[in-house]
Symmetry: C3
Subunit: 439 residues, 3 copies
């Protein structure tokens, strides 16, 4: 391993741990699609990146939807006849179904049961349940605990509030050379669940930090929003800038140890689709590229037919395909620092690819230019060895006809983008290429 | 099996038997490309559906062809020295080569032999031979019988007539909401052969009966015509309506037990091609989809370059690929009631698919509409189960952008058309879709 | 084997031997990118075909390049202390690195070694090295000989000259019915190396001989040029005719026993690409079709983005993939007469395909014409046998709609081009086809 390689590994290791620590900080907060938990989360992010926090009043119409009342909880529990809290929101915020209405009553177990959710197949895990848009209440608990509940009376208390408050989301915009944008979006509405989606949150924060520190061809927009209603709200309030989004990624579930999964945008062959496919192909990662489907995360909204944005979704194991999904087992142990670091690295490579994916015109298009005279070609010829470096120069020259981007060239040449980008840089320095549009 | 399932099976069974019985009625008739046999066949069909019978005079020019003289036979036989009929048209109408000229003479076996056809590889079967366009005569007989013919004199008698009569075909037109047409065509020129093509005839009759009883978006045209010269004649007389044919099927050889075969139209990706492919893919049938080739049945004419109609050919085992083909073994035993019933069912599904294959505009194209509020979405979220019904709704909404028909959506979503159609109906009821062209 | 078959085989055998003999004549000549060796080679070719020999003065600017000084050698050797020539250009012209500058000096082995090239993995072979565009000198020798050189002083003599002369190339132009051209190009700059590229030279000569003797729809241009600088020079001097080149082949390395390799043009689906693919597919040859890459022979220049000509490269084992490549083992034994003959035959088939690949309009596009009446269809119908000859007639009629060339038809019908061509000829004789553009 080279010195540079060691350095990279160690910095990647550190970064993974750092992201995992931040996740540990955010884990205990009880988030939902509205409420104090989201605000607290965004304030924690604000300590790292200059996030703008937006508040959208309850009742605001956003396309076919309405921003719901703000929901907060102070306490929630079930007490048995002996006065013992048999289910206690304060012990784990997954115990309370999200958006449960206030309750205070005595109930027999029989009447209570339809409001109790457990996972018989994983009796020690607490499931995660929500009822955002239908008035309801419920508790989630370990199946082992559910089975030990005796018949009889229980006191059920939910001290939740619904008030005309607001939906809260965070946004950071990093202007670049052009107003064309790259969008990175993650949802911040899930309570104590790590892979879904504190993993997406901490990686997004890391990407925003590094992109903020770099020169950027593109402008970047990072969104930290409640799922579904958040992206709908953002799109409704920002219709005028939507057309600037040239590439986008929804980041979710990227901290588990499963193989990386890139789900293509609705367009299917957008530059971001080709960029992520390229990055994963030339990585060491086990991975899968899957077609768009209208089920999943906020790409559902970005890729709705009225927008049809080039936004894909980067995951590891897709939602619902790992047993820990939406349960208390999706915790700080389930997500690994190394998984976070490697997910971050692939995203960053994709952003770098987009930054560097330009199209050039060969300034000497008739026959090859004499590379030898420019120090770009070997002097003694006749050997048998593969001359990869020369080959990549020739590919860039041959396809720089204004019809091919560097990613097109890398794809056709079956070479890593990085090498193609370096070759283009050498040729630019010699004046053999000029960027398309800058002639 | 559900009650409905049982009912369907039993009605399908009955239908198969019914079609097989009708075939039994038509089997003994000696058909050719002209003559009384075709007329008798069409009159039998007329008892079931209001067929219009057309007579086109001999000598009529139809493109590069001329309607031939009408051919009829009263008797044909070969008598040996002992006065015994060793070959007798009255015993089986395949014994006489179709369009044989009248003959009455004494011949030695040696001179007779070039006019005798048998199948050495299937010595008990009588072959089927024709000589429509070249003056000739011949007898077809079992190879076992041929081998027992002694040397010596035979009396050969063919009491056939060629007269300036007409070519006969049947046609039924069922008007629909639009003048756009679906064509179903089958040939009625073969004598006592069941799979080729009484199978196509009885299934076409069945389809005409059911479509006549239904509300139709498309108009339907069923043709019962002699092969080749019949379709050429129909096309020559109906050039002005040909452009109305939007989809078509030639039905032939659909009663054997072999796997279903759909041969695509010359266009190769016409809606009928995609419809039949979809229907067969989502059926339990063993099947094959094959590319167009200019050999086969009347699709040769419909798909000639001057017409290039979207007409495919639905078969089971393709012609020439089963030994019974064009021999007396293609009889009432060879064709099964169940095969007929299932061929009929697949055709009907394809017609239903065409009827229902509309394109819609999502009326809420920016972000998803709130399905929950319309009772189309589950209330308690978070579960792991596949939500197929919601998924199909989302697919229809996502792709209803005016560019995708429901079949396009079913194909991309990899779901049966029927489910996609049902989802579209739900969304139509909510006002979330409007048919393209009806905005 | 038929008589015609025998004749063809024997004539092919003779032709192979003849080409191999000619190669033997050219083998000893010391060629380079300029100089007397090229002239001598072209004069030998001129005895067979009326080649025009062009001289382009040193210093001529050709696009980004300059025609170099002319290089010639009278002698070159290394003498040891005992006065023995341990390396001698006169023994094998590969011993001297091409374009070596004049040298005359005493050197110790240590100082000499950086100028000595050998192949340790093939110790008995002399490698081939060049230094055209960087001032340098060197000797190539067997590794066994290199290892026996004792320490001590050597006299090094290179009697080479660089003078303002010219670059020499040969060209023959065979006018055809149209000014549209087929280009055949081969490089003549390699010294005593047989596969690379006397094989290309002798096959090109053979093709020029036969095409000169035939009626031609296309005009033909054969180029015998030094690699790289030769094609650049030709293109620079002939920019005005380049657009006439409709198809082209670079011929190189077609005498070894490896499988045939066709490397597609940059366009990737040019007619020549489809023609060579078709020819090889319907041949008995082991072969591979590979995509264009900008490394290789003069197709690099013809396919540079400013020209993007439809020029592919026909090889057997690609350069660098056989150990004998660029060494003294690429000699008269390595190249086989039979390999030359078969490479020639495939090229000729491709040229014949291009000549015959016309597009026609079916004059009876509505329904099939009655082929029987024209003697093109069997009289007695009903048999089971495949009627290939009729099928090919039907394919040609069906697809002769002005959108399909005969090669398109052969490809779709999956039939050899020759049969499709013959069917078209039959139909032309009946007046059923008219060539597109001649209506």
């Amino acid at each position: 391993m080279t010195c540079a390689g060691q350095q990279e590994t160690s910095s990647s290791e550190e970064l993974g741990k750092e992201m995992h620590n931040f996740m540990g900080e955010l884990y205990p907060i009880c988030r939902s699609i509205t409420g104090e938990g989201v605000r607290e989360t965004l304030r924690a992010i604000q300590k790292r990146i200059p996030l703008e926090i937006h508040e959208v009043p309850s009742g605001t119409k956003v396309f076919d939807w309405t921003v719901p009342l703000e929901w907060n909880v102070s306490d929630a529990y079930i007490v048995n006849r002996e006065g013992k809290r048999v289910v206690d929101f304060k012990a784990h915020n997954l115990h309370l179904m999200s958006y449960s209405v206030p309750v205070r009553k005595q109930m027999r177990l029989e009447a209570l049961k339809p409001h109790l959710f457990s996972l018989p197949s994983h009796p020690d895990w607490i499931p995660y349940r929500t009822s955002y848009y239908k008035e309801n209440w419920g508790f989630c608990l370990r199946h082992t605990d559910l089975e030990q509940l005796c018949d009889g009376e229980y006191e059920v208390v939910i001290e939740s509030s619904f008030r005309s408050g607001s939906l809260t989301y965070g946004e950071i915009y990093l202007p670049g050379e052009t107003s064309d944008e790259v969008l990175v979006s993650c949802h911040v509405c899930h309570p104590s669940l790590c892979n879904d989606n504190l993993s997406g949150v901490v990686v997004s924060v890391g990407l925003a930090e590094i992109m903020a520190a770099r020169a950027r061809r593109y402008s970047y927009r990072f969104l930290f929003i409640p799922g579904t209603i958040g992206s709908i709200t953002w799109l409704a309030r920002n219709e005028h800038v939507v057309s600037r989004i040239k590439h986008g990624l929804v980041l979710t579930g990227i901290g588990d140890e499963g193989k990386m999964t890139y789900k293509k945008s609705r367009q299917g062959n957008a530059e971001i689709d080709r960029a992520m496919t390229h990055v994963l192909r030339y990585s060491d990662e086990h991975h899968a590229i899957v077609d768009f489907s209208p089920y999943g995360y906020d790409e559902r909204q970005y890729c709705s037919p009225g927008f049809d944005l080039p936004v894909g979704c980067f995951m590891r194991t897709p939602h619902g395909q790992y047993p820990e999904y939406h349960s208390s087992a999706d915790n700080l142990d389930f997500v690994k620092a190394d998984s976070l670091a490697r997910s971050y690295a692939r995203c960053l490579e994709a952003l770098e690819l987009l930054e560097g994916n330009q199209s050039y015109m060969n300034q000497n298009p008739k026959c090859e230019p004499q590379l030898g005279r420019r120090g770009l070609y070997r002097a003694v010829a006749g050997q048998n060895e593969k001359q990869t470096q020369e080959l990549v120069l020739l590919w860039v020259l041959n396809l720089s006809d204004g019809q091919h981007s560097l990613l097109d060239i890398a794809t056709r040449a079956e070479m890593p983008f990085r090498e193609v980008r370096q070759a283009a840089d050498s040729l630019l320095r010699c004046g053999l290429l000029v960027e398309v549009g800058k002639l």
